[in-house]
């Protein structure tokens, strides 16, 4: 009987440990899935300091905190692939750094690694006000979906140099 109880306890502990691990994995997948479809919008906030763009990133997520975490990644993605339209305070529209619309699929290996959790993209972004969100920037767009706006500064000069050095985009002086 004692032997049986011991076996049952071991099995229960194993099941508990496994469920903890799979829960964490599921949360991580959910977080990534929530924002990994590159569903976001960029608004120009103002002319940033030299070498930077100051943008507001609107990300969608079922849980607001996931969107906040991923706003930085979306901001870098937007500066590379989407660009943004003119905004308030004399903010000018900017073209994306990538001039080839198929670049993301052509250099898939590079960008998968670049945008992974804690990837290199983190070097080029800073959240303004420590990522604090204004009251009007937390919108509930449906029963289970939030649209969150976070102001992010993207160091576009360093980002461009990084992509040029990696051979992903061409520099202005390439070929001369």
């Amino acid at each position: 009987m004692k032997k049986h109880i011991k076996s049952i306890v071991i099995v229960l502990i194993a099941v508990f440990a496994f469920s903890l691990n799979s829960n964490a994995q599921r949360r991580k997948n959910k977080k990534t899935k929530d924002t990994h479809e590159w569903r976001y919008e960029l608004d120009c906030m103002s002319t940033g300091k030299q070498g930077t763009y100051l943008v507001k990133v609107w990300s969608y997520s079922k849980k607001p905190r996931f969107a906040i975490e991923k706003a930085k990644r979306n901001a870098v993605h937007g500066v590379i692939f989407k660009g943004f339209a003119a905004g308030k305070q004399g903010c000018k529209s900017q073209k994306p750094l990538a001039r080839n619309s198929n670049l993301e699929s052509e250099k898939e290996d590079f960008f998968t690694d670049f945008f992974k959790e804690g990837g290199k993209y983190m070097k080029f972004v800073t959240a303004s006000n420590d990522g604090a969100i204004a009251a009007g920037d937390r919108l509930k767009v449906s029963k289970r979906l939030y649209k969150i706006g976070v102001v992010i500064a993207v160091n576009k000069d360093e980002l461009r140099k990084e992509l040029e050095n990696a051979g992903i985009i061409k520099g202005l002086d390439a070929g001369f």
Binding site: T47, Q50, K92, R99, K156, F176
Partner: protein, 314 residues
């Protein structure tokens, strides 16, 4: 034999792989309207007509704002691997060169440096692409804003190859230098982007140049003279069709005395993989005319993008 072949192949490959196109020079120049609005003009009487021309030296001596904007543009372009020629320095260098040439004489014969009127005419601050700058300070009551216009103009084809323009947000409190800096920062990425589009087009379709054919007035033949049953003008057109990238050029003018070819797309490299410009390209035509048709000629160039052949002698 095999070793020699491999060595030659290696040299040819390295030549073509590492070949670099001739890099155009860029320079920021204040526009005529900016100079006129600020009184940086010289006036002179040209046979009864009063002519106004920009006085760039005075502009650089009087305006700190102009220096600030040019310095910012130069800095941002240098960051992109494209340092610009500084017009103020170019003007000073020309002045000092002229003074040195005037004073210089040969130690042995006492001869002075020879400079033709054409050489004197060409001694101006120039670049392959001129970045023409126009700034306007707008005031509405206490509000101030800056309208910024930067045009990249090809010196040879006269085409606008890049641009960025717009008006910044009006401000009650910001000082003019701050507004100017903001204008430059917010426009230079778009300007660089349009310049890059121009360079991409150049690498894909060749450099666009102008080719002009003229004749000395003492030459007895002209462009309508037949050589081997074909008019000289047509022979030149056929040569251009065979040697331009995808046969692209436009015959803008063709008379018995002159021909003007525009939008001539020349390859960036010759068959040896060396970078070429309009002069090196037209040199081949000059040789063909001389060797095949026994027409002596003189080749004259202007920067990377303009070359003229004058038929009938050197």
């Amino acid at each position: 034999m095999r070793k020699i072949f491999i060595t030659l192949l290696f040299i040819a490959l390295t030549n073509s792989v590492f070949a670099q196109a001739k890099k155009p020079t860029l320079m920021v120049v204040p526009s005529d309207v900016l100079c006129n609005q600020n009184g940086w003009m010289k006036t002179f009487n040209n046979q009864g007509t009063i002519v106004k021309v920009p006085d760039y030296k005075r502009a650089f001596q009087e305006s700190t704002y102009l220096l600030l904007v040019i310095s910012k543009i130069n800095q941002l372009m240098a960051d992109r691997g494209f340092p610009l020629k500084n017009m103020e320095s170019a003007i000073k260098t020309l002045e000092s060169n002229a003074a040195e040439n005037a004073m210089r004489s040969s130690k042995e014969t006492g001869a002075s440096v020879n400079e033709s009127p054409i050489d004197q005419l060409k001694a101006i601050a120039k670049a392959d692409i001129i970045l023409q700058l126009t700034l306007t300070l707008n005031k509405t009551g206490p509000k101030k804003s800056i309208t910024f216009n930067l045009q990249g103009l090809d010196s040879y084809t006269d085409k606008q190859v890049a641009s960025a323009s717009g008006t910044g947000a009006p401000s009650f409190s910001a000082e003019i230098p701050v507004l100017l800096e903001e204008a430059v920062l917010s426009h230079m990425d778009n300007f660089s982007s349009s310049l890059q589009t121009h360079f991409d087009d150049m690498f894909a379709n060749g450099r666009e140049v102008i080719v002009r054919i003229q004749k000395w007035d003492d030459w007895d033949e002209d462009l309508e003279t037949e050589y081997g049953g074909e008019e000289l003008g047509t022979i030149i057109e056929d040569w251009l069709a065979d040697n331009t990238v995808k046969g692209r050029f436009s015959t803008t003018d063709m008379t018995e005395d002159m021909a003007l070819f525009e939008q001539v797309r020349i390859p960036l490299f010759n068959e040896k993989g060396r970078a070429i410009d309009a002069r090196r390209f037209v040199k081949k035509l000059s040789k063909v005319l001389k060797k095949t048709h026994q027409i002596p000629n003189k080749l004259v160039m202007k920067g990377l993008g303009r070359a003229t052949i004058i038929l009938g002698g050197k």
